[in-house]
């Protein structure tokens, strides 16, 4: 049976992980390579490395970080942040990534999705969508729809998130990484309404992100949100010691997960 994936996300700035670093048994908890290996060992189904600065001068640092992280990582490895061109993507794949995640650059030029997918395959292209509920009513069940944002959520695009997800699929995206900006960092749970409408609108897998505050939120997003995967940036903030513990909770709740890891 196809299992629901738990994806560990590392936010990296200038080669260092900047949050979610509470691995007590690591000598250097800010080292992406060490953290990625630890997450994989603890049962992460995939690892995402998000370069949160992605400035030009730090690009080479990023590639070196990707290379070191990929070397001993034998689960799927995605790199996102600052990918603007096919050349950017190629360099990241050469460094050992299996997938790249693109957001702003895809909104600016949707042909980039097709361009990377044709060269490396759709399975290697994740389109990240940062979505926010329209209007002041940000309560669950709002019918006002969702808008896509770029530049780390600072810039509204005027694009309907559902229509954009469908277009991304049509243009060759292999997966959608969907972040609820309303929920991100709140710990009140994933936006299951948002996740479900997108998951039902496309035939490619949807990875839910933003708002997790406890293991029960993962159960909800898989059950009510119809998510195929969920991203956890700082699992240790949830009072859980590891992804393995989260997966045991999911299994007890009847969600299919990969165990033993």
């Amino acid at each position: 049976m196809l299992t629901k994936r738990i994806i560990a996300c590392l936010d990296v700035d200038a080669g260092r992980v900047v949050k979610g670093t509470q691995f007590l048994d690591l000598r250097d908890a800010g080292d992406p390579a060490a953290l990625a290996a630890a997450h994989s060992k603890a049962g992460a189904d995939e690892v995402v490395l998000l370069d949160i600065t992605a400035t030009h001068e730090k690009r080479n640092t990023l590639l070196e970080t990707v290379r070191r992280t990929a070397r001993e990582l034998f689960v799927p490895f995605t790199v996102g942040g600052g990918v603007r061109t096919l050349d950017d993507a190629s360099a990241i794949f050469d460094a050992g990534a299996d997938k790249i995640s693109i957001n702003s650059a895809a909104i600016a030029d949707a042909a980039l999705i097709t361009c990377i997918a044709e060269r490396f395959g759709s399975q290697a292209v994740i389109v990240a969508i940062d979505a926010k509920r329209n209007g002041a009513d940000s309560k669950a069940g709002s019918e006002a729809g969702f808008q896509a944002f770029v530049s780390g959520g600072r810039v509204a695009t005027g694009r309907d998130a559902i229509a954009w997800a469908k277009e991304a699929e049509d243009r060759g995206a292999g997966e959608i990484l969907l972040t609820s900006m309303d929920r991100d960092g709140t710990g009140v749970g994933f936006d299951c309404d948002l996740t479900r409408v997108i998951a039902q609108a496309v035939r490619i897998p949807v990875i839910a992100s933003g708002g997790a505050g406890g293991a029960e939120h993962f159960v909800q997003v898989f059950r009510e949100g119809a998510a195929d995967a969920a991203l956890a940036a700082s699992i240790f903030h949830f009072g859980l010691s590891s992804i393995s513990e989260l997966k045991k909770h999911l299994q007890v709740a009847g969600i299919p997960v990969r165990l033993p890891c």
Binding site: T3, A70, F74, F93, D94, D98, G121, Q123, I204, A229
Partner: protein
């Protein structure tokens, strides 16, 4: 020396890295002469079945067939395994190696496609490639087309019906999943291949 055949379809870094980790000597090549000298051949492949046309154009197809006839162990991964069949709905004009009869088909509309993620293997007895891997083990898949169940099927997977997750006959091996991305289970499978 294991030749990892590069036919410009996707990224071979991960496959090479996994063999490096196991201490195997590998060469990534698109040169038929070099591939012909290898003790073992691996054909990774991601993306479109139509990309295998490059194997015909470059002469690699003939080298692979001759090597298989000489008893050289051959492992096709993902599209590399699909190419071991006669054909695929994805690119009906392209002929596969036809080591086994049959056609790769798209997943039914009832399930999401591509099939992405970790799914379990139902292993049939006697597989050399999957030796020591418990039935029910999880491996990582990402594909939109699937190989039907064959007499050569060594592991079955369930997604919108049963399909071949692995095939094996004599020195011919294929895996639909990505052993290089399937954690310790995947590395054990690659190690079995190295030890053949």
């Amino acid at each position: 020396m294991i030749a990892i055949v590069d036919f410009r379809a996707g990224n071979l870094t991960s496959v090479k890295k996994a063999f490096d980790h196991l201490g195997a000597e590998t060469v990534v090549t698109s040169d038929p002469t070099e591939a012909a000298k290898a003790d073992k051949i691996v054909l990774p492949g991601v993306g479109h079945f139509g990309a295998t046309k490059a194997l015909d154009d470059s002469g690699l197809r003939d080298v692979i067939l001759e090597s298989i006839e000489r008893g050289i162990p051959f492992l096709g991964i993902c599209v590399g395994m699909q190419w071991m069949l006669a054909s695929s709905e994805e690119a009906p004009e392209i002929s596969g190696l036809a080591l086994w009869p049959g056609e790769c088909s798209r997943f039914p509309a009832a399930v999401k496609s591509p099939h992405v993620g970790w799914n379990s293997l139902q292993i049939r007895n006697g597989s050399r490639l999957l030796q020591g891997v418990p039935s029910g083990s999880f491996v990582y898949f990402t594909h939109s087309y699937r190989v039907p169940l064959l007499t050569a099927t060594s592991a079955e997977c369930e997604y919108g019906g049963g399909f071949s997750a692995a095939v094996e006959q004599e020195n011919m091996f294929g895996v639909q999943f990505h052993p290089e991305k399937s954690g310790t289970v995947g590395l054990a499978i690659l190690k079995n291949f190295c030890n053949l």
